[in-house]
């Protein structure tokens, strides 16, 4: 039993190492792209919050509950001014 566990632990470690070397970056990239798309999506559906009405409000209200957590970060991202620190980020 203990041997099995040790073996499993070893393989697990190898697996995680390989993942880290080979795939972690692509996963991160996919997630990052996905995140910008999320912002684009909220702009399209909730645009009238910034004064850009795109989807008819009756239907954007239907989607509102799902994007409540993203609203504040999204507004910040869309409205922030560009300055020097942006280049550092």
């Amino acid at each position: 039993m203990a041997d099995d566990k040790k073996k499993g632990g070893f393989f697990q470690a190898v697996k995680e190492f390989v993942y880290g070397v080979a795939a972690h970056d692509s996963a991160r990239f996919a997630m990052k792209t996905r995140a910008s798309m999320e912002h684009l999506f909220i702009l399209i559906t909730m645009g009238d919050m910034l004064g850009v009405p795109i989807l008819p409000p009756y239907y954007s209200l239907r989607l509102l509950p799902y994007v409540v957590p993203q609203i504040s970060t999204w507004k910040r991202r869309m409205l922030r001014e560009k300055d020097l620190t942006d280049a550092l980020a």
């Binding site: 993942y19 795939a23 692509s26 996963a27 996919a30 997630m31 792209t33 996905r34 798309m37 999320e38 684009l40 999506f41 399209i44 559906t45 909730m46 009238d48 919050m49 009405p53 795109i54 989807l55 008819p56 409000p57 009756y58 239907y59 954007s60 209200l61 239907r62 989607l63 509102l64 509950p65 799902y66 994007v67 409540v68 957590p69 609203i71 504040s72 507004k75």
Partner: protein, 328 residues
């Protein structure tokens, strides 16, 4: 000349369950909707006539307050409904608030979100969208042989139609973006060997909205199931505007079934001793009736007389119905 009559159209196309009257404001759309509902109900069909106009007048014509009361029985087989858009918007806002509170276990809606909910409801398009949405409810629910839409005046009706197609396109675009996002989610999940991916609730909502919009625009453009009639009167401006509107409606694939001429002064008046003023009106009418005959050749289904008093109450509605459909 043999004319196809309005009654013939209803006999020939029994599958046309959705009946609409369009035309400029004040020409008699509500009157014809009510009279057609009356005729069909007398023929033993179960009929619902409902108004998509925020300034509805079905209550006036049936002399019964039906505003916001759901389908109300006027006489056997005849039901009428006026949609209370304001109330529907309020209920809808409340539904959204409740959903947010439940989803996140909040005590109170965040200020930013609340102000958005309120601002969205103040948009002018909101009322129309709410009515549009309720019409889908009415039609999906079923239970009637005929649905008669008491439409808004022309400009608005066009807006209503174009709204359906614009919505449709937008939702398509947004849905495909959402699907693309989903693919990225899947890629990340595969790479990270996550076994399960949560269902995308937003995508499901979008598909639901798309389905609702499609249902109503499909009805508006279904040649098998829908009959759309235009109301005209013998006046130059009305004829011109109706011609233009006819072309626009055709662009949206609305199946035009024909035209009904309203407010025709009885020609027999001419033989009587009438004042100059009325004689001039009659001469003018004669001229424009000829014009109507030419421009809407073979598509005129009925001529309805100007009545001696305004049309309210079932007795007057019956009189109009007999004028439209002949004795029944």
């Amino acid at each position: 000349m043999v004319r196809i009559s309005l009654a013939n159209i209803f006999e020939q196309y029994p599958d046309r369950h959705y009946i609409m009257f369009g035309g400029k404001g004040g020409l008699g759309k509500t009157t014809f909707s009510a009279a057609t509902a009356y005729y069909l109900a007398k023929k033993g069909k179960r009929v619902l006539v409902f108004s998509v106009d925020p300034q509805a007048s079905l209550s006036d014509i049936f002399k019964k307050d039906i505003f916001g009361k759901g389908p109300t029985e006027i006489m056997p087989n005849l039901y009428a409904q006026e949609i209370d858009a304001d109330r529907r918007v309020k209920e809808y806002q409340e539904e959204i608030r409740k959903k947010i509170l439940e989803m996140y276990g909040m005590e109170k809606i965040p200020e930013e979100i609340e102000s958005y909910i309120q601002a969205a409801a103040a948009e002018p398009a909101m009322e129309e969208s709410a009515i549009f949405d309720e019409v889908v409810d009415i039609v999906v629910k079923g239970g009637y042989d005929y649905y008669i839409y008491d439409l808004v005046p022309l400009g608005h009706a066009l807006y209503y139609l174009s709204m359906a197609s614009v919505y449709d396109e937008w939702i398509d675009k947004i849905t495909s973006l959402r699907q693309q996002m989903r693919e990225y989610d899947q890629v990340a999940a595969v790479i990270r060997r996550d076994k399960e991916l949560d269902e995308d609730a937003i995508l499901n909502e979008l598909l639901y909205i798309k389905d609702r919009i499609n249902k109503s625009s499909n009805i508006l453009t279904d040649k098998q199931k829908t009959a759309f009639f235009f109301v005209v009167t013998a006046e130059e401006m009305i004829i011109n505007d109706t011609l233009k509107a006819g072309e626009l409606f055709a662009k949206f694939d609305v199946p035009l079934s024909g035209y009904i001429v309203n407010r025709v002064l009885p020609a027999s008046l001419k033989e009587q001793n009438i004042p100059e003023y009325l004689r001039n009106r009659l001469t003018m009418q004669e001229h424009y009736l000829k014009v109507i005959d030419e421009v809407f050749k073979g598509q005129i289904l009925a001529f309805v007389s100007e009545m001696e008093r305004d049309i309210t109450g079932l007795t007057m509605i019956e009189k109009i119905a007999k004028n439209m459909f002949g004795d029944f």
